[in-house]
């Protein structure tokens, strides 16, 4: 009886857990309009007003949204567009059916600089997204010149009051800048500054120096509206964001579980260790994407038997998050390879970061072996060479120049891609490391 009850409850919680995981997966992995906006009220209203004027008054505009990666540029834009559509829906109820059409006709060619690698492809994509290609069959894709003339003609025909406004969103705007002559940008901005079809051009970029990249004619035509997203919140707000991001929504099916979960989150946010973890992360990077990553790691530890995330989970997640990837590789090396790395470290110290070759490393290693012959097995040179090449493959050492057929492998100049502090840390945690090696690592003169 009690067993069955237990089973039922666990089943129930299993369902809850899968629900929870689903919610957080959506929240942390999809950077969609569903996510909430934090600390960008002003930018939001600016952008919303701008787009509203385009739709309602047919006013042409151009703007750039600038902010570091992960600062929520796309989220902001998606939010604005979603609300704009909803607003049109609202107005539809108030006025007539007109704006429903307006909603559909508001085209959003999302152009990403990574996909549209030149103006030709971009033009085709615009034509496709404006659904103009069926006007003339596939002839329009005849040549680049025809295509451009076609599109310009199409846009020139409209006017402010009668044509449907078009919103151009240029993702990765900085990549469009590198197109030849900046033809696309010039034409888009030129249309936005002349009495043609109303267009609004919005560029998203993370480069602060974007305006310096624009050609003077293009720059003059750009209206110089810049919306900066800066992650300009302090730690208190960061904690609030953390709470909001980790708490379950009110419409969660199992209310009791949601209550329990949210209480736990409240506790966590007041916990000292959790605050330390968050403080540490906050000091490193303020963007929400890294917070999402941390929470993702923590939440993925949630199971049926461990239904609520704890401070330890977060700590562990933070540890994983901040671990040094190269030092981790060193943990998996053999003693011989570690010895070689130590030899390189000493060479770096002696020659002040000058490049070395295999022969030098081998000599250094030989010196160590001669001193400590009793504890270390003297490997043959080809064996050492093999170990050295393994390090090369792991990219712990890097050749200065490409290996050529003529140069002997032993004399290729190399550089070590590890800092001495990384090596020392790795040795600390290296299991069963011979004491002699540790001593040698600490000082090249330990035998004296």
């Amino acid at each position: 009886m009690s067993k069955r009850k237990l089973k039922e409850s666990s089943e129930e919680s299993a369902e809850c857990i899968s629900q929870v995981q689903k919610i957080f997966r959506e929240r942390f992995c999809h950077y969609c309009a569903a996510g909430k906006l934090f600390g960008m009220k002003q930018q939001y209203s600016h952008l919303l007003e701008l787009l509203k004027r385009t739709t309602v008054h047919g006013e042409s505009n151009s703007a750039l949204i600038i902010g570091p990666r992960g600062s929520g540029k796309t989220t902001l834009l998606n939010h604005v567009l979603k609300n704009l559509r909803e607003m049109n829906q609202v107005r539809e109820n108030l006025l007539e059916v007109h704006l429903n059409g307006n909603l559909f006709l508001m085209k959003n060619p999302f152009l990403s600089g990574l996909l549209q690698t030149n103006d030709k492809v971009a033009l085709k994509e615009i034509t496709r997204q404006l659904q103009l290609e069926n006007v003339v069959g596939d002839k329009v894709f005849g040549s680049f010149a025809e295509n451009l003339a076609f599109l310009l003609e199409a846009l020139r025909r409209g006017n402010r009051t009668s044509s449907c406004p078009i919103l151009f969103v240029l993702d990765e705007f900085d990549l469009f800048v590198h197109h030849k002559n900046q033809t696309l940008l010039y034409n888009l901005f030129d249309i936005s500054q002349s009495a043609q079809t109303p267009v609004t051009v919005i560029g998203l970029t993370c480069r602060q120096d974007i305006l310096e990249l624009l050609e003077k004619r293009v720059k003059s035509r750009f209206s110089h509206r810049q919306i900066y997203l800066m992650n300009s919140f302090d730690f208190k707000e960061y904690i609030k964001i953390f709470k909001k991001q980790l708490s379950l929504p009110a419409e969660f099916p199992d209310e009791a579980f949601a209550q329990k979960w949210n209480n736990n989150v409240q506790h966590l946010s007041e916990d000292k260790t959790v605050q330390d973890v968050l403080q540490n992360l906050f000091q490193h990077s303020k963007d929400l994407r890294s917070l999402h990553l941390l929470l993702m790691l923590a939440v993925s530890a949630v199971t049926v038997h461990h239904p609520l995330p704890t401070a330890a989970d977060l700590q562990e997640a933070r540890r994983q998050h901040s671990s040094d990837s190269r030092a981790n590789i060193v943990h998996g090396l053999s003693v011989l390879e570690i010895c070689l790395i130590i030899a390189m470290k000493h060479l770096n110290e002696v020659y002040d970061g000058e490049p070395f070759n295999f022969q030098m490393v081998y000599n250094e290693f030989q010196k160590f072996i001669q001193r400590k012959a009793h504890s270390m097995y003297n490997f043959e040179k080809p064996v050492v060479m093999k170990a050295f090449e393994h390090l090369l493959q792991l990219e712990l050492v890097q050749p200065l120049e490409r290996p050529s057929a003529r140069a002997q492998r032993e004399f290729l100049l190399m550089k070590l891609l590890l800092d001495s502090s990384q090596i020392m840390e790795a040795l600390q945690v290296y299991p069963n490391c011979p004491t002699d090696v540790k001593q040698w690592a600490a000082s090249s003169l330990s035998w004296l």
Binding site: E49, H57, G58, E59, E96, H98, L99, G101, N102, L105, D119, V135, V136, G137, K139, F144, A145, L148, E153, A154, L155, R157, G158, T161, S162, S163, C164, I166, N181, T183, D190, S194, A195, Q196, T197, P198, R207, Q208, D209, R221, S223, H224, R225, Q226, Y228, M230, N231, Q283, H284, S285, K286, S322, S323, D324, R326, A327, Q398, L417, L418, S421
Partner: protein, 855 residues
């Protein structure tokens, strides 16, 4: 079509000089012979004949009457002509003065004085027929040869249309008569007038469903194969490639025509048409009969491509052979149809075999025996057409067989068909709107230009369809408040009534273009100035004023073409765009260059001056600079009549990037637009805001001064003002609207001009800031403005220890470095160098220090 392959045409005088003028050393002639070397044909054109003259557009040669022929002192053959103008040549805005539909065949007696009536005789293409008609007269029914026949009802003097004066009318009539006499007398002249009789078949015909389609396709192919314009046809003649004009090809076309119309015709409309036809016949009868008497033998509506005409002339056996071949094809034609028509075939066959030189004239009264069923009438009509075609073929056949001289006449003469066929459809306006009429006529005249098709309102040629952005369903809201009104006016795209502060420049450019227009010469002007100083706007304003003046007849009319270097994908595309603007042709860049060079270097009669604006000139630069060279070379040609206004940003562009020979051709007429001063900017803004109290006076001044100090770019100034209105509106949404004050303007300026770097650094995370500090420390230590990540890392760790922070791992440092690099606060190398990646600051050390110190 490759113009280089054209065979040469030789122009020689016909007969002895009539008289000569000693002083001018000219001698006059009564006719000119055009001999084509390749086809060995000769055409004689006499005084008073109507001719086609090569024009700008190969598809639309000019129509004229030959008034005088003479040879000038320099042995050049010259011709004096009386022009007729096509509807296309009349400005769009004047066409509505006509208040009626105009057929493509109608021309106007040209009384504009501006045109040069003295042309080179070599530009004459061939002779045609122009018939004077009274205004009330309907246009004669469809002729088989539309290309060759024009009608004139009214005269055009550049301002209004007038009815032909009786004097002119009689003169034109006279010319026609005289011409026919002449042609009769001259052995090489047999104009083939159409006197195809009326034939209406009352029998019903079962029609096959499949046939029309194939027929259609045949037509299409035929159309594409044969160059469809007169002038092009002439080209093809020059090419001496007569292979296309085989009898079989022609037969196909003829055969298919009725099938095609059958598939398109609607019965009820046909009924109406038939009635119309009967009515229309009446007034035309007299002239028709008159002609009939003269040329009873010429019946066929021979389209220009008669096989026999182009071959070796005057050989009877040859023509007999032709006759043989031809009759074969005719025999074939009815038989092919036999499959389709169950009971009609015999009848048809009979008709086909009748070789009646007069043409059988069945009374058209037969046609009213029509059943109300549309299907049947349609079929009837079709069968009538079939029969007609067959009979025409027969008659042609007869002609070529019986009249040996027929084959000797060249293509030109054959084109001179006088249409007197009353049974063909009148071109009533009703038919114009239906696609079938054009199809039908296209079938009858294979040499018809495609140009005419859109004129008749047919929904064809998707190629030329220009796309359109869908219209918005709800109308755009009009500005409600003062601020919104101001914003609308401040938008760069809003066109102000006048351009303040550019009056001087405006006047200079205006004077330059005006003087060139009046002189009828060409010239270049180079206009420079930094962006946003109103260069393009001023030039457009000049053009607008000039067009206004031209419309009011204060100036000779001109064509206006604009190209923009930025809107071209390749400098050579400039040729394509110019040619398309001028003539509507679409060709490749190299061919366009050839055509344009020809256009501007040869003296074109009736050609208007062209004003060409070349915006963003510097982008037309190529390594050999041939585009620029050509552009600036054309105006220097004697007959080019080309005025170029070149616009670019840099003042010394000609010296900097142009070769000497290009710069020299550009000339020294230059103008430089200075950046606006703050007073000018202030004036611009206040002139736009006239009548709208939205700005404080001082606020406008602040913006103007700020912009003038930075760039003098009017666009920037307007943008800032516009942004200021938004800020103003936003800041007091609840309260009553107020005007834009200093605070709003300052905010807008700060928003637009503030350096983003300082803000970005202040909002960076703690470790990012420490990393920047570490960079500064490393720079100071090394004395070099470049450091590797490893070096910076050591400093970073040291700084962290000082601050009592947990020192970051190398991975985290790399992440920070790449983040700052993506924002371009730092310039970093490729990340595969890991610790040895070199780092530089993208802004001054002082800026970084300033940004970091504040906290």
């Amino acid at each position: 079509m490759n113009t280089r392959q054209q065979s040469k045409l030789i122009y020689s005088w016909y007969g002895k000089p009539l008289g000569s003028d000693r002083k001018l050393r000219t001698s006059q002639y009564k006719g000119i012979l055009i001999t084509s070397e390749s086809t060995k044909t000769e055409t004689c054109i006499q005084l008073g004949d109507f001719i086609l003259v090569e024009g700008v557009n190969a598809d639309q040669p000019y129509v004229a009457q030959l008034m005088d022929l003479y040879e000038d002192g320099a042995q050049h053959k010259r011709a004096v002509v009386q022009w007729f103008c096509r509807l296309e040549e009349i400005p769009q805005n004047k066409r509505k003065l006509l208040k009626r539909e105009i057929s493509a065949q109608e021309v106007f007696f040209d009384q504009i004085l501006g045109y040069d009536t003295d042309i080179a005789a070599e530009t004459i293409i061939k002779s045609i027929v122009v018939l004077p008609l009274h205004l009330s007269e309907e246009l004669p029914t469809i002729t088989l040869n539309k290309e060759q026949t024009f009608y004139v009802k009214q005269s055009w003097d550049g301002k209004c249309f007038k009815v032909l004066s009786p004097d002119t009318f009689s003169k034109l009539k006279e010319a026609n008569k005289k011409r026919s006499v002449i042609t009769n007398s001259s052995k090489a002249f047999i104009p083939s007038d159409i006197l195809t009789p009326v034939k209406k078949e009352t029998e019903s015909v079962l029609r096959s469903a499949t046939k029309p389609k194939t027929a259609d396709m045949e037509i299409e192919s035929k159309h594409s194969a044969s160059k469809s314009s007169l002038a092009k046809e002439r080209h093809s003649q020059r090419v001496a490639n007569n292979d296309i004009k085989t009898p079989t090809a022609r037969k196909k076309l003829e055969l298919s025509s009725p099938m095609r119309s059958k598939s398109r015709l609607l019965g009820c409309e046909v009924l109406g048409l038939l009635d119309d036809d009967c009515d229309a016949t009446a007034p035309l009868k007299p002239s028709a009969t008159k002609r009939k008497v003269k040329f009873t033998s010429d019946i066929s509506g021979s389209p220009p491509k008669i096989p026999c005409s182009n071959d070796k002339s005057k050989s009877t056996c040859e023509s007999a052979e032709h006759h043989q071949r031809f009759s074969d094809t005719i025999r074939l034609s009815p038989y092919t149809k036999v499959k389709d028509f169950s009971e009609k075939d015999k009848n048809l066959h009979e008709k086909g075999d009748i070789l009646s030189p007069v043409g059988y004239q069945k009374p058209s009264s037969q046609s009213p025996v029509l059943t109300p069923r549309s299907r049947r009438t349609c079929v009837q009509k079709t069968s009538a057409l079939i029969a007609e075609q067959i009979s025409m073929l027969d008659q042609e056949d007869f002609l070529s067989g019986s009249d040996s001289s027929y084959s000797s006449s060249s293509e030109e003469e054959e084109d001179d068909d006088v249409p007197c066929t009353p049974e063909k459809k009148t071109k009533s306006s009703r038919i114009f709107s239906t696609p079938k009429s054009s199809r039908k006529s296209a079938v009858h005249t294979p040499a018809k230009t495609l140009k005419k098709t859109p004129l008749q309102g047919t929904p064809r040629t998707p190629r030329n369809a220009t796309p359109e952005i869908p219209r918005r369903i709800q109308a755009a809201q009009e500005p409600a408040s003062v601020l919104e009104e101001a914003r609308l006016r401040l938008h760069v795209s809003a066109v102000p009534e006048s351009l303040p502060c550019r009056e001087e420049e405006f006047q200079d450019i205006y004077n330059f273009v005006e003087s060139k227009l009046i002189d009828g010469t060409g010239g270049c002007m180079y206009i420079s100035g930094v962006p946003g100083t109103g260069k393009t706007a001023t030039v457009h304003e000049v053009i607008r004023c000039l067009q206004q003046a031209a419309e009011n007849d204060e100036l000779p009319p001109f064509q206006f073409v604009e190209i923009n270097g930025m809107k071209l994908t390749d400098p050579h595309q400039a040729y394509v765009q110019i040619l398309e603007f001028l003539t509507g042709q679409k060709v490749t860049a190299t061919h366009a260059a050839v055509l344009l060079a020809k256009l501007f270097s040869t003296p074109g009669p009736k050609r208007k001056t062209t004003v060409l604006i070349v915006d963003e000139l510097d982008l037309l630069w190529t390594r050999k600079q041939n585009v620029m060279y050509n552009l600036f070379d054309w105006p220097t040609q004697k007959h080019s009549k080309l005025i170029i206004l070149a616009i670019a940003n840099t003042m010394d562009l000609p010296e900097r990037i142009m070769m000497n020979r290009v710069a020299s051709r550009l000339g020294l007429t230059r103008m430089s637009f200075q950046p606006y001063t703050y007073k000018q900017l202030q004036q611009i803004v206040s002139s736009r805001l006239k009548g709208v109290k939205a700005f404080e006076e001082d606020a406008v001044q602040l913006v103007s001064r700020k912009v003038a100090a930075l760039s003098g770019d009017a666009r920037r100034c307007l943008d800032i003002c516009r942004r200021a209105t938004e800020i103003c509106e936003f800041s007091n949404q609840k309260r009553t609207p107020e005007i834009v004050r200093m605070a709003h303007v300052t905010e807008a300026i700060d928003e637009m001009f503030s350096s983003p770097y300082v803000n970005a650094i202040r909002n960076a995370s703690l470790h990012e800031q420490i990393f920047l500090k570490a960079i500064l420390a490393e720079f100071r230590r090394a004395g070099v403005e470049e450091a590797t990540v490893q070096q910076i890392y050591h400093h970073h760790v040291a700084l962290c220890r000082m601050e009592g922070l947990q020192s970051p791992t190398v991975s985290e440092i790399m992440a920070i470095c790449s983040r700052l690099g993506a924002c371009r606060l730092l310039l970093v190398e490729a990340s595969n160098k890991y610790l040895h990646m070199r780092v530089r600051l993208n802004l001054g050390q002082d800026d970084v220090m300033y940004a970091l110190r504040e906290e």
